[in-house]
C-alpha cells in the first residue's frame, strides 16, 4: 500500500498551486486582491507543509518536508495537471482556483472521516481555510463572468482552456480505490458529484457555459506532467539545488 504516494498527491497539489499563486505577489490587479491571492498561497503552502511532514514520517527514512519539496524531480511529483498550468490573466487564475477549491473543499470534508488520524487532523485544520477560498473564488467567478462583455469573454475563454484539466482530480485510479477501501482515502466518485453540482451552480450564476468537449487530459497523479511543471520546479528548487542545505 502506497500511503506515501497518496499523501504526496495532495501535498504536491497544494505546494505547486501555492507556488503558482505566489507569482501574483506584487502583481495583483488591486491591492486587496493581491493580498487575498497571496493569503491563499500561504494557506496552501501551510497545508503542504503538514502533508510533507507526514509523508516524510510515513516514509521513515529521516527526510524532512524540505527534502520532499526541493529535491524531487518532476516525474516524482504527483499533483494534478490543473495546478501547474500558468496563471494567465487574473480571470484565468480565478477560474483555475475555483475549479481546484471546489475539489479541495469536498476532499477535505471527506478526508476528515479518514481512519488515518493524522490525515483527518490535517483535513480538519485545512477545511476552515478552504471554506473561505471557495467562497471567494465563487464570488469572483460570478463577478467576472456576469460582469462586462470583456470580463465575460475572458472568463469563458479561461473556462474553455482549463476544462480538459478538470476531471483528473475526481477520477479515481487503483491507488485511490485501494486507499478508499482501507478507510484512509476518500470516495472520489462522491466528491465528483458534489464538484459537478457546485461548478454547474456557480457557472450558471456567472452566465458561463460548461464546455461541451468531454476529452480530458490526465497523467499528473502518476508523474506525467505538462512542460510547465519543470519551470515551476526550476524556480522553486533553484536555491537548494545550487547550494544544498542552505538555510536563512
Amino acid at each position: 500500500m502506497n500511503l506515501k504516494k497518496y499523501i504526496l498527491r495532495q501535498a504536491d497539489n497544494t505546494l505547486i498551486l501555492g507556488q503558482r499563486l505566489a507569482e501574483w505577489c506584487g502583481h495583483g490587479p488591486v491591492l486587496e486582491q493581491d493580498i487575498a491571492i497571496t493569503n491563499f498561497a500561504l494557506d496552501l503552502i501551510g497545508q503542504a507543509r503538514s502533508l510533507y511532514q507526514y509523508a516524510a514520517e510515513v516514509e521513515g527514512e529521516g527526510k524532512t518536508e524540505d527534502d520532499l519539496a526541493y529535491l524531487r524531480e518532476a516525474i516524482d511529483f504527483y499533483n494534478v495537471l490543473l495546478v501547474e498550468l500558468p496563471n494567465g490573466n487574473f480571470g484565468k487564475t480565478i477560474a483555475r482556483q475555483f475549479f481546484f477549491d471546489a475539489f479541495n473543499y469536498y476532499f477535505y470534508i471527506e478526508l476528515q472521516k479518514s481512519k488515518d488520524q493524522q490525515l483527518a487532523a490535517i483535513a480538519e485544520k485545512s477545511i476552515k481555510e478552504v471554506t473561505y477560498h471557495l467562497r471567494y473564488t465563487s464570488e469572483w467567478m460570478i463577478r467576472l463572468g456576469d460582469g462586462t462583455a470583456e470580463s465575460h469573454e475572458k472568463m469563458q475563454t479561461a473556462v474553455n482552456d482549463l476544462w480538459a484539466y478538470t476531471s483528473e482530480m475526481c477520477t479515481p485510479d487503483a491507488l485511490d480505490q485501494e486507499m478508499q477501501e482501507a478507510g484512509i482515502g476518500v470516495d472520489l466518485q462522491k466528491i465528483k458529484a458534489s464538484w459537478d453540482a457546485k461548478v454547474k451552480d456557480i457557472l450558471a450564476q456567472a452566465t458561463l457555459e460548461i464546455p461541451e468537449n468531454s476529452w480530458m487530459q490526465t497523467g499528473g497523479k502518476n508523474g506525467k506532467h505538462t512542460e510547465h511543471l519543470g519551470f515551476v520546479l526550476a524556480e522553486m528548487q533553484h536555491l537548494q539545488r545550487t547550494h544544498p542545505g542552505a538555510t536563512w
Binding site: 486587496e32 493580498i35 491563499f40 501551510g46 488520524q117 480538519e124
Partner: protein
Amino acid sequence: MNISIPEIWQILETVSDPEVPVLTVVDLGVVRKVEVQDGKLRVVITPTYSGCPAMNVIEMNIRIALAAEGYPDAEISTVLSPAWTTDWMSEAGKQKLKAYGIAPPVGAVVDKGALFAEPKKVPCPLCDSLDTEMISQFGSTACKSHYKCNVCLEPFDYFKCH
C-alpha cells in the same frame, strides 16, 4: 525537578504573539496543554492557520521564556486536532485586541457556513459604530479581514472568526 504547572502557565502568559503583540499566546488560545510526564515538561501548541508564519517564532519564544525561568528542557510539540478556533481566545484577549485597534471576532464561529452570506456587522473598534463595511475578506495577515468605518472613516482590521 519539581515543576509547578500554574507557574508554567504564568510564564507562558508573558510570551507575546509576534504579529499581534498585545496578545499573549495564552490569550490567543494556541497553548493547548501543559503537563509533566516522567519529570519532563511538555507544552502542546496548535497553529491558528496552517501557513501561519508566526508559529515557528511562537515556539522559539516559548522555549526562550521557559529557559530563562529555569526550564531549558521543555518539549514543545504541535497538534492540529482539534483545530484552533477563535472561540478559544480569552475575553481579556478580545478586550486587548479592541484597545489595540483590531476588532475582535464577533460571536461564535461558523459565520461562513452559507456561501455568500452577508458579512456580519462588526463594530468599529474606535467609535463602536455598527455602520462598517468589509473591504476585503483577506487582510494584513491570514487571521484578519479588512474593514472600514462609515462613521469615523477609519479603516481597521477585523480578527475574523475561524
